[in-house]
């Protein structure tokens, strides 16, 4: 069996990790993921960097290196141009509504209309067996048992 590498950690690594704020970490991660998203969209469109730069009105070839490095601080206009060129969503300004699913447990007590007479209750028990599946319209009462 082949040796696997030892897992390594040190106190200095732990110390630095603890000093990084979650917000700062999230900001850097967001930059890198944005760069990756743009690069992936460019590749899936079959474009190279030159084509992307041309489509976004950029003249300096080194700009693409900055964009994809995951360190670049994009302006709104640059992101808008890239979004339009690649047909991807980088600036979603639509308000999102959170979908809430509420489950109700509903009990429906049904009686066929032709049985809805003043004395139907008296005859229900005896007739029930004659109409096991003939339900045309209902007199319905609902009980919301659980929300």
């Amino acid at each position: 069996m082949k040796n696997k590498a030892e897992e390594y950690n040190s106190s200095i690594i732990d110390e630095i990790f603890e000093s990084i704020s979650p917000k700062e970490e999230k900001r850097i991660k967001s930059k890198m993921i944005l760069a990756a998203k743009i690069e992936d969209a460019m590749k899936s469109k079959g474009w190279n960097r030159t084509k992307l730069l041309k489509a976004t009105g950029q003249k300096n070839a080194s700009v693409a290196t900055k964009w994809f490095s995951g360190t670049h601080n994009f302006t709104h206009d640059t992101l808008f141009n890239i979004q339009e060129a690649l047909g991807i969503d980088l600036l979603n300004t639509n308000e999102t509504t959170e979908e809430v699913v509420v489950k109700y447990h509903i009990v429906v007590d049904s009686v066929p209309t032709h049985l809805k007479q003043s004395n139907w209750r008296k005859t229900t028990n005896s007739r029930k067996s004659q109409f096991p599946s003939q339900i045309h319209s209902f007199n319905t009462s609902m009980i919301i048992a659980e929300a």
Binding site: A5, Y8, S19, I28, M32
Partner: protein, 167 residues
């Protein structure tokens, strides 16, 4: 002098494994890693850059993998995979690495780069040339069967101790 390949668990994740090397001391024990030395040498003057590097490595390990675009390539000789992790455009701290696809990187040393060519800075030159040697050594070890990649290319397997480096 001997070195041992180890996997830094804090950075490594589902997308990439981040390795470094432990160095052998005079008693024959493996101790501080090259990456620890890099941190210790630069924390006082470049703490924000070090934190930036930590966050970038964590994202590489867990979210994006070691994409080529995140690294300044061609820092060694053609094909050896020696590169530097990009830092913020206004920053100057260089961390040299060897990149094996998007799945695995080995962190070496580095330092602030205030010169045009790395050969103009003895410390950077030493860190860079060590990784060039390491890349050649790993290739040799893979060719003679002592070292290999795991089936998912995310880890090294075999004899993880590398020796005979001469400055």
């Amino acid at each position: 002098m001997k070195y041992k390949l180890v996997r830094i668990s804090k950075f490594s994740g589902n997308e990439a494994s981040i390795y470094t090397l432990l160095t052998e001391n005079e008693q024959g024990e493996f101790q501080d890693s090259l990456f620890d030395t890099f941190i210790n040498e630069n924390t006082i003057l470049y703490l924000s850059e070090i934190k930036n590097i930590f966050s970038r490595l964590t994202t590489i390990g867990n979210d994006t993998g070691a994409r080529e675009s995140f690294f300044k390539t061609k820092e060694g000789v053609p094909g050896d995979g020696v590169c530097a992790l990009y830092d913020s455009p206004s920053k100057k701290l260089r961390l040299y690495c060897i990149r094996y696809g998007t799945e695995l990187i080995i962190l070496g040393g580095g330092g602030p780069k205030n010169v045009r060519a790395l050969q103009d800075d003895k410390k950077l030159e030493a860190a860079n040339y060590f990784l060039r040697w390491l890349s050649i050594k790993i290739t040799e070890c893979r060719q003679n069967g002592d070292l290999s990649f795991s089936t998912d290319f995310m880890d090294f397997e075999g004899d993880l101790i590398l020796k005979d480096y001469e400055e």
